[in-house]
Amino acid sequence: MTLFHLALQVGRTATPEAVQFWLLAPIAVIAALGILVVKKAIHAALLMAWVMVTLAIFYIAEDALFLGIVQIVVYTGAVMMLFLFILMLVGVDSTESLGETIKGQRIPSILIAVGLLGLVVSLLGRATITQPAVGLATANADGNVQGIAKLLFTEYVWAFEVVSALLITAALGAMVLAHSQQTKSKFAQRDLSIARFRKSSLGGAAGLPTSGVFARHNAVDVPALLPDGTPAPTSISQTLKARGDMITSDGFALESIEEQED
């Protein structure tokens, strides 16, 4: 008795479908593996979109025309768009460090995944399907959409109604979760003014001094001179200071002017 019965035989496909499968399936698997290793979430989203498009092609090849179209419209259209929207919202540049937080968590994870793969593949191999694959030619005789509609509105009509209730609940839930109530009022000019007078010293109550030396160099890039002749560093914009786009006001101090006049 072998461990893995890999060959579950249910029926052959036509050659064009086989060619399509062997072309697209490896690419889909590689793209899915790429989701595991890429650093940026946006790259993972693009790979995911590719896997979904491949699956849509497989659905259409498997006589599930309606599902193939729905897959493209709902998944690659709506769901991936929603993912990209959220990615843009939370910052597209944020890269995730791939190092592990829980020590030694990665190896057991890979082992568990390989074990799951072996388990289900072995299970598939042991499965007994009594008759060869029937194919959907008779079920799709009136058209795939008509066939699904017939089932959906007769046998599965109760499930259909429940699912519609689920959709409405999900929409409401998303609205409740995304809604943010402003719990405190905005910090306006009035609050700023009050905060200035509540400080320990009233030194800054009248606001910061304006830049420039009156009548000599009246510009934003030169610090104002205080009554004692020293320059006031708070009078100049922090941005200009950081950029280095300021000049000193020493040349405009009173003593230096007197020297110049002598």
């Binding site: 989701i35 699956l55 599930a64 599902l67 709902v74 769901v79 959220i86 959907l136 929409a171």
Partner: protein, 99 residues
């Protein structure tokens, strides 16, 4: 090629999705991996529908898609809410209950 190859592809994609949920830490990428698992199960349902020659599998697959859409809407709303309060989409940062 045997039709069962679709089932094997489905199993492989499902496993990759499960592994992604285990090892990735960005909540959005984890969500994408859950979507991958749902898609893989859809492929299996469609293939079984073909093997059995009736459309019940496709209807089940259709319901899976609807549930997945609901799940994405609510899940992404939760991620946005967490991001708004914690400025991070990493699942490791939401550890307030840890201590």
């Amino acid at each position: 090629m045997d039709i069962s190859n679709y089932l094997y592809l489905s199993v492989i994609l499902f496993t990759i999705g499960a592994l992604g949920v285990l090892i990735r830490r960005n909540a959005i990428v984890i969500f994408m991996c859950i979507e991958l698992m749902l898609n893989a199960s859809n492929l299996a349902l469609v293939t079984f529908s073909r093997i059995n020659g009736n459309l019940d599998g496709q209807v089940a697959s259709f319901f899976t898609m609807v549930v997945a859409a609901c799940e994405v809407v609510v899940g992404l709303a939760i991620i946005v809410t967490i991001y708004r309060s914690r400025r991070s989409a990493s699942v490791d940062d939401a550890s307030l209950l840890k201590n």
